[in-house]
């Protein structure tokens, strides 16, 4: 079989355990960005006809994954543990996502309730992480979201989060 740029990219995406950035793909294949982008489009299109896989843009890169239609078959094989985040963890996560860098105390002030457990859970899950220390007494930890956060919600970058500005803006979006 003749080698194609498409094939090379697809094989790299297959072995990658993380999203592969455009730059990485260019470097590995020694191809131009425009060529790689086009090849990625061709791969995406080809996968749309009959494949169980799809190509997604996620966490700043490209990654192969299974199609939603086959979630039950894959789940039946993998028997994954349901690891959905609870409402309160999601709330803390949203606050961190929009207000990062933010301290645990500030999160607590916004929510009005103890949030340590939720913060711990999110850190353990790798969705938020210490990204620095605040220059105030006690030098509290500043939290921010991680690549895993983008991955968990199938986001490409933080700009894809729905805009949140006070209650008015929210009603418009949610309406």
């Amino acid at each position: 079989m003749t080698r194609t740029l498409e094939g090379a990219i697809e094989s790299v995406l297959f072995v990658a355990q993380l999203p592969v950035t455009l730059d990485e793909l260019c470097e590995v294949t020694s191809a131009k960005k425009s060529e790689v982008t086009e090849a990625l489009e061709r791969i995406g299109a080809r996968l749309q006809t009959g494949s169980g896989l799809q190509l997604v843009r996620i966490a700043g890169g490209y990654q192969l994954c299974t199609r939603r239609e086959y979630a039950d078959s894959v789940a039946k094989y993998l028997k994954p543990q349901k690891r959905k985040l609870t409402r309160s963890a999601l709330e803390v996560l949203a606050i961190v996502a929009y207000r990062q860098p933010i301290t645990g105390l500030d999160i607590q002030v916004i929510r009005g309730v103890q949030s340590e457990h939720a913060i711990r859970t999110l850190v353990d899950r790798g969705l938020i992480a210490e990204i620095g220390r605040k220059n105030s007494p006690g030098r509290p930890i500043l939290y921010g979201t991680t690549q895993e956060f983008l991955h968990h919600f199938k986001l490409n970058d933080l700009s894809e989060l729905p805009p949140v500005e006070g209650a008015e803006g929210l009603q418009e979006i949610g309406a």
Binding site: V56, L90, A94, H152, K154, P162
Partner: protein, 252 residues
Amino acid sequence: MNRKSAPEEQETLTPGGIAVPPPLRIESAAFTGSLATLFHLARDGRIDLTGVPLSPVCSAYLEYIRTTEQLDVDAAGAALLALAYLVERKAWALLPIADPPPPQELPELPEPTAHEFAFAVDTLDEWQRERGDIFFRAAEADGVYELPFDVGKVTAADLARAFERIMERARPVDVTPLAKPRPSLQEVMASVLAIARTTSEALPLEAFLPEDYTRLDAVFVFLAVLELLRIGTLTAELVEGDVRFGLKGGQR
């Protein structure tokens, strides 16, 4: 079990000004010692109170209150506190243990809360559900990616047969220590490869061995051939039911 039976030297105030319970002594299967010690052990979770009868201790305490002429109120108070604590802890210990409530599900959030993020939270929740339906290749895949190697229709049994055949003809390893160290697998691989390069034909396993070879030689050559198959330098094919090995892509 009362004050008189216990040593009298015990202080009723610690240096920190904390009153110490009067030295009521407890004798039981699970614990023998003073009320103060029992209190400390219970507080630190180092004793199972269910095995310690507390009712006689309470009786002894009442006896102590009734009979002591010059009652030390601090000490009596401290003892009462310790007793109350123990009774409560024991009561809890005797209660059936309920399943711990799922901590994450609990908080229906009290006011005030992060209303402005409600929409974002809903969105994240929805995205999380959607994301739960797609799967990536296992991120925890242990090990390094390796291309599975393909030997076509050749089976493990074919390889084993070829191996068995060369082993039958091999002589045992010399008992005398060898003058030169045995070659490494790398070196054997190189010699196998050199032999494979001499012809465009696929060769039987024997072809990679010298006329007179030991079992050790046979094992090494077999392993070398397997490794060369794995890395894709050699291919295997069946010729009249016999497995033959040749260079990938014909001659070189």
